[in-house]
Symmetry: D2
Subunit: 255 residues, 4 copies
């Protein structure tokens, strides 16, 4: 039997990509769409709602949310209170809100997922990097993005570095008498290791973690070319939350 899915924020980029994904999977059934400003009454036979209040008592198991930070918390709360397991890609939740929603999910015996990143590959890379750092404390991160990106290093690189810090024994890498003849050559320092940010046209979002040890090397790389890559994570989230009885923060907890 297929899982019945509501999608909130279905007119945004991520929301509309999610609509296509759900429609394309025979194990899922799209049963309702929500957007306060939508004019259409239905899309390909699926009813469109402007107000979430109208979804009270609706027959569905999962609430996918790609709305905006301002309403996502209220939406997630509403989903849990009405028996829909939430799968939320909107960011901006505070720690207090996550704790509160987790408690509510336990009380309601509902699974749920709030995920800042749905790219399974990126999450696996982080997990693998953190494990490898236990055995290979010498490593450097190279992240590569398109040249319109403003911040360096990328948020994903910082997140990866933080996870590595938890498992790696601290070590200041590089030669003791190391010297930069051109400033910045050795990259940014984070906990004794280095992060390098490459920015070039044509690139999208890529990350490499290189580990080195006597006589060997281990390299982990993730390439992200398109927003569609997030959809396998959303799909996995939908199929996992219906089996769970507690909301989690981070897709890694469902892998």
């Amino acid at each position: 039997m297929s899982i019945k899915v509501i999608i909130a924020g279905f007119k945004g980029k991520m929301g509309s990509t999610a609509v296509d994904m759900v429609k394309g999977d025979a194990d899922l059934q799209l049963v309702a769409l929500l957007d306060p400003f939508a004019i259409e009454k239905e899309v390909d036979g699926v009813p469109v709602f402007n107000d979430k209040a109208d979804l009270v008592g609706f027959d569905a198991q999962v609430w996918v949310d790609f709305t905006i930070p301002k309403v996502a918390y209220e939406n997630t709360r509403f989903a849990l209170e009405n028996g829909f397991a939430p799968v939320v890609g909107t960011t901006g939740f505070t720690e207090e809100q996550i704790t509160e929603l987790t408690d509510l999910s336990v009380q309601k015996q509902l699974g749920g997922l709030i995920a800042p990143n749905f790219a399974i590959g990126a999450i696996l890379l982080m997990e693998f990097a953190a494990k490898a750092a236990k055995y290979f404390p010498d490593l450097e991160i190279i992240e590569l993005h398109h040249d319109k990106k403003k911040d360096a290093p990328s948020g994903t690189a910082i997140k990866t570095a933080e996870l590595i810090r938890e498992t790696r024994s601290y070590k200041k890498q590089g030669a003791e008498d190391e010297e930069e003849t051109l400033g910045g050559a050795r990259g940014a320092e984070f906990d004794g290791f280095r992060i390098h940010s490459v920015r070039l046209p044509g690139l999208v979002a890529h990350q490499e973690v290189i580990f080195g040890a006597e006589g060997q090397g281990l390299t982990l790389r993730h390439d992200s070319y398109d927003r569609i890559s997030f959809m396998s994570g959303v799909n996995l989230g939908i199929k996992e939350v219906v089996k769970r009885v507690q909301l989690v923060y981070g897709l890694e907890h469902l892998l």
Copy 2:
């Protein structure tokens, strides 16, 4: 307090590299060397034995064995019976022998390790590849070795492929109407995915597992340049077996 280590087969390539490694680690203490054909009575103050029988009652915790298949089983048995936790890099054990030695270890409440591969990086790569294959069933393996290598694919590639098969949902990859205009272009087929073997001078032993999914890719690569890379695995083995009460087959069980 340092761990007291005996090394059997100390005159071979791996054995002598192990001698250097143990001497170079302040947490380990080399206390005896064994080789039936050694003439010297000691090496840098460490006594050399020709007959393992003379080591009965010797004060040591770990028995490192890089001998030859013919004697390794007897040596491992002897080690367990005399209270030395074995760390064995010699290959050629039968399944029956491993079961028997494992049972003996449990009875003696001793840890132990028999490992066909001590390269931690290679073992992590296999573990990561098997996990990633759960979520990314589309993958190809490229292994690259020096051009004197006789067999293709490499043993490590086959082992990796077998581990992937256990976690991956079977899928025949590639286009249905795929056609090789030059025979062999698509590589060797293994359980619906492909393995490619590159042979070039200058290379040593390298392996890449490439996963692809809509909009993203994940690549795992291990480079092995030198036998010395095995020593971090031997070192880890020594430090782990003294904390355990059962022999294991495969370094992955200590990671």
Copy 3:
């Protein structure tokens, strides 16, 4: 002063991308569009023609052609006869046609370009690979494409291999007693070296040429993500043909 450009076949995928490219470059000026089936009379102020005969005497220097094989030869001939330097991306010319058009260009003292491939990066890779093969006769090609691709190896890989064959001293690579325990592992053989074809979802069109020699390796890789990458080649073609007095076949002759 800007170069005045006519685009034939402006309604196709390549043609319309070329329209955008010409409009976006201040050094170029789009002066006419041609398509036998176009209904519109102009596009953003640029006149649209259905019949090339109406372009006799038109004030333009370059004729960009992304039509179909059936008409491309006639179009190129027409361009040369009427003083427009042709830049042609349509394929399917015979050797006789190319020779004839080249002769005509010399007679008219006009530059011109017929190019089966406008990706500058792919062409540089081929040129570099052919040069490197002079010094490094040991090499393998790995080409990677999306998993809907039917033929293996790719046309670009074959072309690259042919160019390499011209500069490389023949050598049968790999160990003499090499053995495939899984058929196809060593890839396709071409002139004594190997070509491997990887097919995975998420990939677009990528090619790697790996050279190996004692103690060193050289790797050349081209990644093609999008048709837009061809436009820098078309742009270069337009700017170069106006300086030349002979038509060439292949963008490499203008690099």
Copy 4:
């Protein structure tokens, strides 16, 4: 007929590797060895000299020199004056010395080579990078070395960057509002592009130049694992200088 070779500085690391290389090539014949402090009178039948004066009138065509900066200039001068084409790997020549030796070579109608770098792969990479930069002005250099290396970026990276500067149209890369949230993340700036230095155990000497453009990327990588890689450059040098009538500075002039 084989080329007769003298090797000066035959007891050093490079010199002795060169001895092995010459002996291993049937097209070359080792006829004399020179070292002021050598005690032996011959090595495998090849006469050893302590004083270059004793080599006046000796029957040889090429003088390979891996001595020390202090004597290399005098040696090279001596070689040219006595009819031996010099192939010199010793560094430290001044521009004036190179000019003077080049003039002398022309006068004597002798070829010759003074090369700061004999790794053909590294030199090809520089040449290719400089050519690609003409068409792809957006690029970054990543150089990777063992973690005992003191200076960053490497000398080879600086040299590569200088060659690129000669062909590339100046451009300040990266987003205009780019911001480093961790200092150094974007690497060292050189003429508007970036250089990143990675330092890890297990690595030897590697360099990657990554070019990016709309819809495509081009990556050039050289891996140097062992000093032996220089020998193919020395070999090529010996075989080329006997065909030339002028000394050149830099192996690239013989490629």
